[in-house]
């Protein structure tokens, strides 16, 4: 049985002001025990998808099953099986981590004694034992994320949904969380996580669906996706804008990205001289040129037509490429 089976799921928000098709048509399957990454820019529909799969939002169309249970008609059963850490962390700032774990364990039906034990286990697991008596208000962003993750694990869920678990964390804290998530996967938990970071999807997810504008535009393992591009990526860099413009006329299939032009070809390294000759013939000055295997970045560019910017930029993650 599949852990998650999503078939043409759809969500339309209807209000007096506007109709928003947040999720237009999303399908994917997640096998048991894998980490599945939903990669997409701001507003792609990641959170909306997660909310539907976790029974918190009504599905407008299509269907989804978690461990064989339908999210619409069997939502109670689904809720018992899943753990959820939403994007907007629902954490009570006035309580301590210990109190939060204890309360959550009690709500999941553990006896008082079991709740105390479970609390200690989980505090240890997410590395918050030392801070456990402090009010959550005083925690750093990374500590809150780990707490959030811990709280979603209280009842040992079989399927875990994490909506942007590492957004806003520094690279070190992000790694800590990645290791944590991998350990969970190795322990048999199925993880569905969303991210807007390419390297997170690349490093962490066993399989990836790229979601853009409410649609899944590509799906597969990181390697499959990269292979789908075929060939290598040649990157030309230019110092002057005029050279860049002229070069675009020569390398007609090239895609511009700032002062760079990229082109995907078979056997990249061997084709470099040929391009360089063409450009120098026209007196176009190239500042550098290189060939490389495609990255997830290139895949993203190919399937969406624009580039998802690096993880250090939180303000504007999407940069449209002019055409």
């Amino acid at each position: 049985m599949l852990a998650v089976e999503v078939k043409n799921i759809k969500k339309t928000f209807q209000s007096k002001q506007a109709t928003v098709e947040a999720v237009k048509d999303v399908s994917f399957e997640v096998r048991k025990g894998e980490i599945f990454g939903l990669l997409g820019p701001n507003g792609a529909g990641k959170s909306t998808t997660i909310l539907m799969l976790t029974t918190l939002l009504q599905v407008t169309g299509g269907s989804a099953k978690i461990l064989g249970y339908d999210v619409s008609s069997q939502d109670k059963l689904v809720r018992e099986k899943i753990g959820v850490a939403l994007q907007d962390t629902g954490i009570d700032n006035l309580l301590t981590a210990r109190e939060l774990f204890f309360t959550t364990a009690r709500l999941w039906g553990y006896s008082k004694e079991d709740s105390i034990n479970r609390t200690n286990e989980l505090l240890e697991l997410v590395g918050l034992t030392e801070a456990s008596e402090r009010r959550v208000k005083t925690y750093s962003g990374g500590m809150k994320r780990r707490l959030d993750l811990g709280l979603s694990l209280v009842h040992s869920p079989e399927v875990l949904f994490l909506d942007e678990p590492t957004t806003g964390l520094d690279p070190g804290s992000r790694r800590v969380l990645w290791e944590e998530i991998k350990r969970l996967r190795d322990g048999g938990v199925t993880v569905i996580l969303t991210t807007q970071y390419l390297e997170e999807a690349d490093e962490l997810a066993d399989r990836i669906a790229i979601i853009d504008n409410g649609l899944v535009v590509a799906e597969g393992t990181s390697d499959e996706l990269k292979a789908s591009i075929g060939g290598d990526v040649i990157t030309f860099a230019f110092d002057s804008d005029s050279d860049l413009k002229l070069a675009l006329n020569v390398i007609t299939e090239g895609v511009q990205d700032k002062n760079l032009i990229r082109i995907t070809v078979e056997d990249g390294a061997r084709k470099i001289p040929q391009y360089v000759n063409q450009l120098t013939e026209k007196n176009i000055e190239i500042s550098s040129v290189s060939a490389s295997k495609p990255t997830l970045d290139d895949v993203f560019l190919k399937v969406t037509g624009y580039r998802l910017e690096g993880s250090d930029n939180k303000e504007t993650n999407v940069e449209k490429v002019e055409d």
Binding site: L56, E80, L94
Partner: protein, 265 residues
Amino acid sequence: MNTKITFLTQLQILTKRLILRVVRRPLAELPNIFISAFFLFVYDGALGGVFGGSAAGTPFDFANGNFVNFILPVSIVSASVSGGASGIYLVEDIESGVFKRYQSMPISKWAIILAPMLVGALRVLIQASLIMIIGKIIGADPAVGSIGFLMVLSIAFLWGMGFAGYSVAAGVRSGSSQGAQAASFLFFPALFLAPTFVPREALRGWLSTASAYNPTTYVIEAMRAIMVEGWLNDVIFKGYLAAGTFAILTLTFAVLSARKATEKA
């Protein structure tokens, strides 16, 4: 391992958690209790001399010689407005996302909604009792005997539940804790468009008319009957009726609003 827990256990756990939140913010309790106690002292200080013992034998002797008895209900009603915190508790959880987390767990939504109301009720009981104790210390002495304190407390409780329901509805509908907070200002006109300082017969013109339609009037009058006059059964009954009806109406309104809010979008 984990087993299903009953609705009551859920309610108890969620209520405990909210109480913990209240205890962690003791200062939030002060304004209302302070205002209520302030009313008691200031009105007694300002008006007690005129309408208290020295009014005996004059047309102003409506306090039966003990102005604390007469003004205590005003403070109690003011204290019972603390039930309005229920809406704020609920909306805070909605705003922080805690509400969503609970919704993603197999917990009864009624337990999630009822817990803040219970804590609001508890708050009313504690604040009204405190005011009552202060009143007793400075000379309150119910005409019907000591049971009068309990009777006044029970009316205050119903009245406070009314405010709890009202605030939950206002909070859920406005979707913000400011909304819930702003809504509780309704209590101001409610408290003062009533026979607050003098009996209803002494009110004039529009205020007299307005107070007749204000349920607060009947609540205060019932408490006053208990404190000042004695067993005026029909007046006391009207007070219970007004407070009870208010509570039932607003709690129904709250439940309907909350049900709408917990429905999936």
